[in-house]
Amino acid sequence: NSKVIQTPRYLVKGQGQKAKMRCIPEKGHPVVFWYQQNKNNEFKFLINFQNQEVLQQIDMTEKRFSAECPSNSPCSLEIQSSEAGDSALYLCASSLWVDSDYTFGSGTRLLVI
């Protein structure tokens, strides 16, 4: 069983709707990553956090995507206005800061119709 918990497992939204997914990182892990894996199995980095602070995010994330990792609450990734091209598997991972491995959740599979 994964130590990183992602919910929901599946998410179906209409175009223009908001889509929100959550991630509970492994206990004690201050670093959280979000990745998008498309139908070609390509991984795209979206954003990462250390504790509640954003470390890096790509342009796509800055425009329609929002993410946060509040203290004592699950991390979340939200797409403000879903597009068909957002259909993908969204993976969350967590780790200690450096010199350590990272653990992935089972992912949220988003379908935008």
């Binding site: 994964s2 670093v31 990553f33 990745y35 894996q37 199995n41 390509e42 991984f43 980095f45 990462n48 250390q50 470390l55 890096q56 598997l89 993976l91 991972a93 800061w97 010199d99 350590s100 491995d101 990272y102 653990t103 992935f104 959740g105 089972s106 992912g107 599979r109």
Partner: protein
């Protein structure tokens, strides 16, 4: 530029044969991890191997930092080993880069 190159792209084996998967990196890194991705998408960590040789069951990974490469050896392959094997590295900016994966098929 592709940060992580994996080879072969696909591999077909007979059960009990050994498999050798290769990974090379565009930069020097000591943050190398091998994953197995299940058909549903979940990534399962196989080995975290920053350097040298690490073994877990039938899996052995060797990472040579100065040559910017890592390998994963699967001994006595089983049908249930079939799937996608991914190599990943993390850079100094704490971003993870994945290779395109090796699709392994083990036949009876």
């Amino acid at each position: 530029e592709q940060q992580v190159q994996q080879s072969p792209a696909s591999l077909v084996l007979q059960e009990a044969e050994n498999a050798e998967l290769q990974c090379s990196f565009s930069i020097f890194t000591n943050q190398v991890q091998w994953f197995y991705q299940r058909p549903g998408g979940r990534l399962v960590s196989l080995l975290y191997n920053p350097s040298g040789t690490k073994q877990s069951g039938r899996l052995t990974s060797t990472t040579v930092i100065k040559e910017r490469r890592s390998s994963l050896h699967i001994s006595s392959s089983q049908i249930t080993d079939s799937g996608t094997y991914l190599c990943a590295m993390r850079n100094s900016n704490n971003r993870i880069f994945f290779g395109d994966g090796t699709q392994l098929v083990v036949k009876p």
